[in-house]
């Protein structure tokens, strides 16, 4: 079928809805990836050995295997132990945890990079270990950590397309639904690409603003 | 051509970076075999002027002439490219941070340009390299990598590399400023030797001792102007300008 982009008009609502769910999915998964990233980082850095080692092993496995494989594990694995999650939740969890592991790595590095002299000064003043971490180390680590986590969020947006494979009704699946009825894969995948690109640009703009505000709030 | 004719000439050199004027209408003549020192505080424009001579820092306006050749001649992009490459073979430059090629041994650092540009054989290039390295006292390290050399040794190799192209004039951009004090002397000795062999040299330097003892003429620059110019005895002992006096006093306080 010769390319005819006017068919997009007939399905704009399908695509718009798909775009909305992609944005929602990215948002939820990003939050999960940051929250759990911090959690994993704190455990990896400060927890006693028996808790630390399993977490680090878990990190190692999830950094060394493909996201799609992990999505299959989460989706089908939960079903076999009786938990039937909606695809959206499974998708958000899978995406979120995958990037949480990468974020945890970044956060650990960021915390280690804070000048140990700072810690010494804080403890010398009488602050406890946790107070030091909370009031001195973390605020400084945040500055160096925001840009790479921002990059991970952009990667998360693009990888969100994969959850279409486990049936989450986001943009890629929406495009496929439209293709199923119009038999025009070229037009709709181009449209999907353009929409992803646009969402990407918007996300990059938001991240840049966040980065600027963080560096100003010194 | 008489020995006293102008060899290197800068005419009305002006350089601005946007609204900032770095060089204000500087003119300068250097005779063949003359050793000229360029001194002055940071920001005086002396390095910019030096780098304008081989067009590393293109002038906003003004001309550079070397033995009858217009160095920064306005030409179309491609024509300019071949022109400037050819002219630069006659101008040798030594940098503050050496800029030796770390992935090449000393030998190859020195022979790279002669082999590529003069079409000589490896054997001839090798002989040439050995000669120049011998002159600077680095022949022993001909098969070393730059990372295995001290700062003074690196700079001497850098000088040999520039000399291998048999330039008409040598430009030194603060050649000893990045060296530990005990390594400065070995480089100064090489430069003195070059001076004795009547190489035409322009030396941007902070070393007043070197400028006074080796150079034929000293030019003091400040904020993009030539403030004072003359033989070392005059500029160092009897400067005519107050700014020169202030600068010399501050320098000797270090």
């Amino acid at each position: 079928m010769r390319p005819d982009f006017s068919v997009l008009l007939n399905f704009w609502d399908t695509l718009a809805l798909g775009a909305f769910w992609t944005i929602a999915l990215t948002g939820v998964a990003s939050v999960i990836s940051v929250v759990f990233g911090i959690l994993f980082a704190v455990v990896a850095l400060y927890a006693p050995a028996p808790i630390r080692w399993p977490v680090r092993a878990f990190e190692w496995v999830f950094m060394g295997t493909p996201l799609l494989l992990q999505l299959f594990l989460i989706y089908f694995g939960l079903i076999t132990i009786g938990i039937d999650l909606p695809a959206f939740v499974a998708g958000a969890l899978g995406l979120g945890l995958y990037f949480a592991v990468y974020n945890s790595d970044i956060i650990q590095a960021g915390i280690r990079a804070v000048d140990p002299g700072q810690t010494e000064a804080a403890r010398a003043l009488g602050l406890s270990r946790w107070q030091t971490i909370r009031d001195v180390t973390v605020p400084q680590a945040v500055r160096s950590v925001v840009p790479p986590i921002g990059n991970n969020t952009i990667a998360l947006l693009k990888d969100s397309a994969l959850v279409s494979v486990i049936g989450v009704a986001e943009l890629t699946l929406a495009a496929q639904q439209a293709i199923g009825r119009s038999f025009r894969p070229l037009e709709f995948y181009v449209a999907a690409a353009v929409i992803y690109y646009a969402i990407n640009l918007a996300l990059e703009a938001v991240l840049r603003r966040i980065e600027r505000r963080i560096s100003l709030a010194r | 051509m008489s020995e006293t004719e102008t060899y290197l000439e800068i005419r009305n050199a002006k350089k601005s970076f946007g609204a900032l004027d770095v060089l204000h209408d500087i003119s300068l003549s250097v005779k063949k075999g003359e050793i000229v020192a360029l001194i002055g505080p940071s920001g005086s424009g002396k390095s910019t002027l030096l780098r304008a001579i081989n067009d590393l820092e293109p002038l906003t306006s003004g001309e550079v002439w070397l033995e009858g050749v217009h160095v920064n001649k306005p030409l179309s992009a491609n024509a300019y490219e071949s022109h400037i490459n050819k002219v630069r073979q006659d101008i040798g430059m030594v940098f503050q941070h050496f800029n030796l090629f770390p992935h090449l041994k000393v030998r190859e650092n020195v022979t790279l340009a002669p082999r590529r540009l003069r079409g000589i054989s490896s054997a001839e290039a090798d002989t040439l390299a050995r000669e120049e390295l011998e002159k600077v006292g680095m022949l022993e390290r001909i098969d070393y990598y730059p990372s295995q050399l001290s700062g003074g040794q690196k700079q001497r190799v850098a000088i040999a590399r520039a000399l291998a192209m048999k330039p008409k004039v040598m430009l030194f951009d603060e050649a000893t400023s990045a060296l530990d004090p005990e390594l400065v002397e070995e480089v100064n000795l090489v430069m003195k030797k070059l001076a004795q062999e009547h190489m035409t040299m322009l030396v941007v330097t902070h070393e007043m001792g070197f400028a006074e003892s080796v150079c034929d003429r000293v030019i003091f620059m400040d904020q993009g102007y030539v403030v004072e110019e003359g033989p070392p005895e005059q500029v160092f002992r009897n400067p005519t300008s107050d700014r020169t006096r202030t600068f010399l006093r501050k320098s000797s306080e270090h």
Binding site: F76, I81, K158, L186, E187, A192, Y196 | N99, F101, A113
Partner: protein
Amino acid sequence: MTGTFDIDLMIRVLPFFLQAAQLTILISVLSVALGLACGALGTAARLARNPLARLLGAAYVSVFRGTPALIQLFLLYFGGPQIGIHLDAVTASVIALGVNIGAYMTETMRGAIVAVDKGQTEAARTLGLGRARAFVDVVLPQAARLMVRPLGINIIAQIKTTAIVAAIAVVELTYTAQRYIGSTYKPFEMFILAGLIYMAIIYVVSLLIRWLDRKVQLP
């Protein structure tokens, strides 16, 4: 509750997984090769003097890094026939993934070239070497040494990215894992089996990268 961990099953299906792994490796190798070529071209374009070339290079990087690889794959495989491009799944996979990783490699290579000290170019040009010679003899050898590790990171990412071709039914590792999850209802076992093979492949590749990186270092 699921039964005990079924190791026998894993041993029984292992041969199928290993065979599928071959396809994973093949697609990885071919797409990385294509990616390196695209990366070199992209870098040349981005650093060219011609403004049109620079624009095309930047557009290539922006578009292929700014959209999901899965969409690029679907576009080529499903959309291609509409403009006369009929590819089998494996070929489409190699091309789509190769062009995709090429955009990332362009930035990696460009980053390494730009990281070489400006003074090196100045010294080379001062000796009279032209722009091309200065680049080939002085900048590129140094940039190449800087590139090995970051390109290695790109390559390892690509090995994991090949999993997405399961979506167009290429019988590689992830597709095989999904198939067997479907027929055996043992997702943990199948995940572990496939996962271990991926990790083994990645481990071997990372050793190779580290060896290469050590080998090109200067004394």
